[in-house]
Every structure is written in C-alpha cells, then in structure tokens.
C-alpha cells in the first residue's frame, strides 16, 4: 500500500491492460478514454475511478489531494471493502489534473456527464449532486467533502459495481450462475467446482460490461476496513523526509524567486530601484509585477537578501486609512442604520424581544482576521518551454490551479499542465481562487529562460493572507419567566456574500429567531479558514447562550439541553460530552469548565474545556473533552486526529491569533507576532468520543474546531466571572466584561 503521485509518472506508461471502472464509464467510448488516461495519453476526463490491473492490483485515482487529513486512506478503505480486496494490493494515486480537465470543462463537468445517465443520477440524493459536482470536477479538497461525498456517494458505488461486473464476467467464462460465485483474495471463486479466476484475468472483459447503477453496498457487519483504525498510507514518507512537497521540486537549471506585494492590499508597484538587489551575489534579475516586485536568484538566500535590499514604492489604492478599528466602526454604523442586507429566521423576533415580562439581554462580540499559517508557505515551480507551461505545487485544488495558470498565461488549456504534490498544510489557504502566487510564478516563468521556483517568505504569507474575516455581532435575546429563551437575534457584520447563514443558524428550539447580515467588505482578501463561518458564529452563539444560562440562573449544560429537541442528535452529543467530562463534579481550586456545541459540515461536535488563569493573566487549558456525531466513522484513528487537530487550532486562534490592520496594511510579520499554540500550551489531556450514529456521514476536517473558542471563554467565565466577548483571549482573561 502506498501513495504514488501522478506527477512522477507522467511520460512513463502505467500498467497496460486491466480494466478501468468509473462512475460514468459504462459505455465503450468513455471506457476507452479512461483507459487511455491510465496509459498516459492525452484523452480522458475526471474524477472518481478505479483501475483493476491485469496483475489484479487495484488502483484508485482520487480527485482529492490529501492535505494531511487522511482522505486517501479513507477512500482506499471504502474501495477495499466493496471489492473484497487485500490491503496490500490497493494503492492510491492522484487523478491527473491536466488530462482530466481536457475533456471536461467546468460547464460540461461531472454533473452534465451524469445527467446522460439518469439511473445513476437518481441513485444519488438530489441535494448532494451539486456538492459532488463541485467537489469532483474541481478536485477541491475542502468543505470536508472528500470522504463523505466522493467516497460515500462515488467510490463505494463504483467499487461495488466493479465487483459485480467481475462476478458477471466470471459467471460467463465459467458457465455458472452469478449466485454461486464469491469474491476474495482478488479472485472470483466457484466453491462447487473449486475453480477461480483472478481479478486480473477478468478485469479487461469486466470493464466492457455495463456497470450496475445502484449496486448493493456492503452492510456494516461485513466491513473489514471501514470503521477500523487502518494506519494512514501517507505517513511513512512523512517520518523519513521522503514525502515531496511543492517546495521540494528541483528542476535542472532552476532559479529561485521570492516576492513582495503591496503592503496595502489594492496598492500597485510604483517604482523600484533595482540596483541594490542586483549587487547581491547570486541575484540575476528584479522583476516588476503590477502590484509586486520579485527577485530572481540562484537560490532562496540571495533572492530574499536581494528583496530585502530593495525599497520599492507602492501606492495604497486608496485604502490607506483602513484599520482594525475602522472596520469595526463600519460594522457598528451599518447595524445602527438598521437595514440588514439579508435576513433569515422564524417567528416575530421584534415582538419577542419587546414582550412583556421578559428579560432583554444584549451583548456585542467581535473576532479578528485570522491567518491560516500553513507550515509550508506558497512554493510553486513553473517552467515555460516550447510553448508549454508546466506548474508544480501542493495546492488544494489541482484542476482550478491549472485553470488559474491557464488564465494567467493566456495559453490554451492543452498547453498547460499542473503537477500536484503533497501540501504542507492548507486549511483553506491553498484554494486557487485567491492564490496570488500562481499568476506570479507564471509571469516569472514566462519571463525567464529557466524554470523558476517561487517561494513566499513567511513575512509575505502573514502580510498577504486570505484571512478568516474580521467580524462582529450584536446578539440580543429575551428570556421568559420560565427561564426559556423567547426570542434571539444575531446582528452580524462580515464580508461574505452568502452571509454565512448556514453557520449562524440555530439548532436550539426558540420560538422566534433572526439572523440579520450586515455586509461589509474591506480591502483585505478573505477566504475559507478551517470550518469557515462556523468559527465566528460558533463563538457568538455558544458564548451568548452561556450568558443567557447564567442570566437565567441555570447550569450552562442543562440550559442548552432544555433548548434542544428531546432525544435528538444535538442533545445526545451534549449529554455524551458532559458525561465524559464529569460535568458538575468538583474541580481543583481556580479551575472552571465551559461547554459549547456547534454543528457544521454535517457533523455535530461539542467540547467541554477545563481551564484556569495563569499568573500572567493568560489562559491555561488543562483538558478538553469532545463528543462528535459525524454519522459512521470510516477511520477512527484518523478521525480522532482530525478532531484533535481542530481542537488545537481552535484553541490557538482563540488564545493568541489576530491579524490587525493599520493604515490599510497588516501589522503582523511572522510567527513572532502571530503566535501559534505550541506543545507547552496545548492541552495535556484530550479525550474524543465518536457517537457512531447512523446519521448521514458528516465531515471531519473542520467540525472539531469551532466549539474550542466558546468552550474556553465559557470556562474562563466560570473561573473569573468575566465574560470575554472579543478574541483573541490573550491578556484579556483578567479584563472586566
């Protein structure tokens, strides 16, 4: 078992023969295209499919890049189960971005291809189709989609259909009914006669058969791999230094470049005196881009030394007066105007908030811009030679990355190839819609007679992020005499077009609630930061309901519980975490517990955090308990790792992370002033429980994160009696609410 990267196979033919099964490869021309693809020819199209080789080995071509979340392993588990495969005879490769795209432009992507196969389409819930369509032809890894959509809805179905085709092929060859055949050890067996045919012997013929559109999937009791903590296939190469990331690509005669863009987003490069850089030994060229200056050298060190020697002049694009404070002031002004751009909710909130005999509670929350801070900064290699452009890098979406390179170069799609590599962290930062490094490296490659590797410095990473938006909300609620919430209003300001409505949505039973979105856009690029809108809305909602619980004189756990559907998924998750954490049992002096529950990406996650305040006023997290309902768990070991990672990242952001603006520019520069949580501050005890419910499969890359901030702030309130309504917490633990 191992992960091979397609990037290293280009030009060398893969095993010929064998059969290729894909979700839409039921007709022969499609099959030919797919087969041609595996043998390296230019034709062929998209995403989810499976190859059974003439050596009986199974190869999965995943449309997702494993960004470190273990998706390749999970997909392999699903396919191995449906095909009754042996683990050591299954491997995973990245689906080739370039060829897959050549036959299937976005407009004629997965969905329209599928619509020619009504039976197949009908087999999938309508609501998931658009999500699959988005996930597959775009090859996005994000939105916690890889396992629950591609895997559950695609890979498993194809694998089960492939197994049926192999059985049918064997039945014909052996002249026996399919009902007498079984599959094991990569062969179809006929117990009565003792005969068997290997998958390899059957593959080519089986692949010409029409695939079942709705094959029966394995029952949970028959799983051999799904649900087991199978070791991740990508890990061995990540402990001995052999995993190859974008930054590790080396081409003969390659140059290294680094770049500085206008510190004020929206600004342009006005002028730069190149001489100081050219005086640095190893520097070969200074390249002026529209809004940035790049230095090209024989290595990274001369490049960055050269860049630092320059004093470029940038304009500020008219954004020179934007600051953190001005953005919050703009939010408040919009709210004061009282005219939200979009609203959602139920019931008459205004009446509810004004109702007689209720207690009105109001609080204003705010959160800062957050930087993704993947450990690998942007590092892309590009080569322009003989009219062809090749780009290498570890990004979250190879196909769209290719399209970004097509756009930047002005070349035909056929002339551009993107070679996906391992990513050193993504968290949403490496989605191509806002990767300025793509047009930059393309411009450099087309300007230079050499291949070039563009590496962003950490300083550039921090200053030019696609941040989680700075956002705020004024929360209002009315408490009835019975201690129940009568009405709830979330008046939030943030940039996103969709308003983050889904994340703001309440799952508590409240007669009247409203989410009013005041849209405000600054000069900063904002993007999807791990778990996206659930980060800020989880903080608002779960901090505010805690305030309401105390205002009602109720226990925060019981208060939430009383507002959740009796016996429902949310209540079960909340009960599980409270029980695991020993909610209500005595604690050490100075320690407090906080609880929070957030739903996102189809998964419900609750945390209980035990915390205290250190002598310097900063928070100390002693333990975190999490309960998770993501439906069935494909790989418990990795699922735990994902939730654990989410907890640590959530705590890191809550405690210390903030991007602030002054005069339109980001004030932070590197890890020194953008502190990421380290070992000593990470919780010594983390216990995670999965409910393993039969709910539809939810995502796992993101949902572990959002409850961390409110659970910690709530725990600190329990200790200090001071409510934290502004993140990060650092040095505010002692601040009066």
């Amino acid at each position: 078992m191992g992960v091979k990267r397609r990037a290293f196979l280009i030009g060398s033919a893969l095993v010929a023969g064998g059969g290729v099964f894909g979700i839409k490869w039921a007709d022969s021309s499609a099959r030919e295209r797919a087969t041609a693809l595996t043998t390296g020819a230019k034709d062929g199209s998209f995403g989810t499919w499976i190859k059974v080789g003439e050596d009986s080995r199974i190869t999965i071509y995943t449309p997702h890049i494993d960004i470190g979340t273990g998706t390749s392993t999970a997909l392999a588990q699903m396919v191995a189960d449906e095909l009754d495969a042996d683990w050591d005879k299954v491997s995973v490769e990245s689906a080739p971005a370039e060829t897959a795209f050549a036959n299937s432009t976005l407009g004629r992507g997965f969905l329209s291809d599928m619509s020619g196969k009504p039976g197949m389409v009908a087999a999938l819930p309508e609501s998931l189709l658009s999500l699959i369509a988005r996930a597959m032809p775009l090859q996005i890894t994000g939105g916690s989609s890889a396992v629950r959509f591609t895997g559950q809805m695609g890979m498993r179905v194809v694998a089960a259909a492939a197994r049926l085709a192999l059985v049918e092929e064997a039945a014909e060859k052996l002249g026996v009914p399919t009902g007498e055949l079984t599959t094991a050890g990569h062969a179809v067996r006929h117990a009565k006669s003792g005969k068997s045919l290997s998958y390899g012997e059957l593959a080519a013929g089986a692949a010409t058969r029409t695939l079942a559109e709705t094959p029966a999937l394995k029952a949970a009791k028959d799983y051999r791999f799904i649900g087991k903590p199978v070791p991740r296939i990508d890990i061995p190469a990540k402990v001995d230094g052999t995993a190859r990331y974008g930054i590790d690509v080396n081409l003969p005669d390659m140059r290294v470049a680094t770049v500085m863009a206008a510190p004020v987003r929206g600004g342009k490069l006005e002028s730069v005196d190149e001489k100081p850089a050219l005086a640095v030994k190893g520097v070969e060229k200074v390249v002026k881009l529209d809004d940035a200056v790049a230095v090209v050298a024989t290595g990274y060190w001369p490049a960055i030394k050269g860049l630092r020697s320059l004093s470029p002049r940038f304009s500020d694009g008219g954004n020179g007066s934007i600051s953190t404070a001005s953005i919050f002031a703009a939010h408040d002004a919009l709210r004061k105007g009282g005219d939200p751009g979009s609203s959602a909710g139920e019931g008459d909130v205004e009446a509810g908030l004004a109702a007689d005999g209720t207690k009105l509670i109001e609080a204003r929350y705010q959160v800062p811009f957050l930087h993704h801070a993947p450990m690998e900064p942007f590092a892309l290699v590009a080569q322009f030679k003989d009219g062809k452009l090749d780009v290498w890098g570890g990004l979250q979406d190879p196909l769209s990355s290719k399209m970004a390179a097509v756009k930047a170069s002005g070349l035909d799609e056929d002339a551009v190839t993107f070679h996906p590599l391992v990513l050193g962290g993504g968290f949403g930062r490496k989605l191509p819609m806002y990767i300025e490094a793509i047009p930059q490296v393309v411009a450099l490659a087309m300007d230079l007679p050499h291949p070039v590797k563009l590496i962003w410095s950490r300083e550039e990473e921090v200053a030019q992020g696609a941040y989680r938006a700075q956002a705020s909300s004024v929360m209002k609620a009315a408490l009835g005499k019975d201690g129940k919430i009568v009405a709830w209003q979330n008046n939030y300001a943030q940039p996103s077009d969709d308003g983050g409505g889904a994340a703001a949505k309440l799952f508590y039973t409240i007669p009247a609630f409203a989410q009013d979105h005041y849209k405000h856009v600054s000069n900063q690029t904002v993007g999807s930061w791990r778990s996206v809108n659930a980060t800020q809305h989880g903080f608002y909602n779960e901090s505010f309901i805690d305030e309401l619980a105390y205002a009602a004189g109720a226990d925060p756990y019981q208060f939430r519980r009383a507002h959740l559907a009796e016996g429902g998924r949310h209540q079960k998750v909340l009960d599980a975490v409270a029980k695991a954490a020993g909610w209500g049992t005595p604690l050490a002096d100075g320690h407090g517990r906080g609880i929070a529950i957030v739903e996102c990406f189809g998964t419900i996650c609750a945390h209980v955090i035990e915390a205290s305040v250190k002598a310097d006023g900063s928070p100390k997290v002693h333990a975190v308990w999490a309960a998770v309902d993501c439906g069935p768990v494909v790989n418990p070991g990795n699922a735990e790792a994902q939730v654990m990672g989410g907890i640590v990242m959530g705590l890191s952001a809550a405690i210390g992370e903030a991007i602030t603006l002054d005069k339109g520019a980001v004030q932070q520069t590197s890890f020194g002033d953008y502190p990421i949580l380290k070992m000593a501050d990470s919780p010594p005890t983390v216990r995670i429980e999965f409910l393993n419910s039969d709910a539809e499969m939810g995502g796992l890359g993101e949902p572990g994160l959002p409850p961390a901030a409110p659970a910690l702030a709530n725990a600190l309130f329990a200790v200090t009696g001071m409510r934290i309504r502004s993140l990060p917490l650092l040095n505010q633990a002692g601040a009066k609410a």
Binding site: D234, I235, G241, G299, I304, G424, P636, A639, K678, M679
Partner: protein, 160 residues
C-alpha cells in the same frame, strides 16, 4: 567561500556565501529536502537539524559557523540497512503526521531531547519541543515520545 563539514556521516563542502543559512545549503546545494523551511527566523523549528548532536534551527545558522561540525538531518536518522530510528517508528505507531511538513523538525527535536535526557519528563518535553505544528499533532507527538522511551502512553486516545 568553501566550508568543510560532514552531513549524515559524509564529508561535504559548502560553496555559498558565508552568511548562507545551513538550511538552504542543505536543501539547495546538497538536495536534501527533508529539512523544511517555515519561517527563516528560528521561530517554527521546521528546519531543525543536529549539529554535533544538538538540535539547531538551521535557517538561522550561517554555514560559516559549521566548519568542521557533524551535521545530521532527517535523512540521516535511518540505520544504514534502512531500519527506521526508534523515534520514527514511534511516530508511525502513534500515527503522528497530518500534513507532515513540520514533522522532520519535530522528529529531529525529539531525537535530540531523548539522546540528552533518556526518558524526558512532561516538563522537559514542554521545554524542548517548541516546534510549531499547525495541524495540531502535539498530543500524539507527546505520546510518541513516551512510547519511544518506554514510558506508558498518556491519555490522548478517544475510543479509537
């Protein structure tokens, strides 16, 4: 300028400017890319290597300072027969890496700590393991260090 040192037991010479950080000499001159760049200011530890047995952040160590020193990188941890170092094995057993980018540095820091202390206490781990992992693998790193040094794993597991 030419600087002679040894890397993973082999004699090497670095030809770059004296102020070139060891990180870039290792990656670009020697082509050993297991050692990673994360910040360049000694703040993240992705570039950690050993110099004469001590964990050092190579992004902030100019090559003119390493003349005659014995440098070890992640590529030098395996035994000549390819067997992984006990710490690497523990890393696999605990399934530590996620994106993996920080892990060469984490492992080099852990090996140096273990070689120095034998069985590091939690406090020693907190003090020595200051490398950043954005994927948040710290609980499993702690667990792997404990397994590698024959200490019982602490409670970081869920029901997995």
């Amino acid at each position: 300028m030419t600087i002679a040192a040894s890397v993973n037991g082999k004699a090497v010479t670095f030809e770059g400017e004296g102020d070139t950080p060891l990180l870039w000499a290792i990656r670009e001159e020697l082509g050993l890319t297991g050692t990673k760049f994360g910040c360049g200011i000694a703040a993240c530890g992705a570039c950690t290597v050993h110099i004469d047995g001590e964990a050092v952040r190579s992004c902030s160590m100019p090559i003119e300072m390493v003349a005659g020193k014995a440098i070890r990188t992640i590529e030098g941890l395996k035994k000549p027969d390819g067997t992984l170092h006990a710490v690497q094995q523990a890393w696999i057993a605990a399934q530590v890496p996620q994106c993996g980018y920080c892990q060469s540095g984490q492992i080099m820091a852990a090996v140096a700590l273990i070689e120095r202390t034998g069985q590091p206490s939690d406090a020693q781990v907190d003090e020595a393991m200051t490398n950043i992992c954005r994927c948040g693998t710290y609980p499993r790193i702690r667990e792997a260090i404990r397994t590698a040094t024959g200490q019982a794993a602490i409670a970081v597991q869920g029901d997995a």
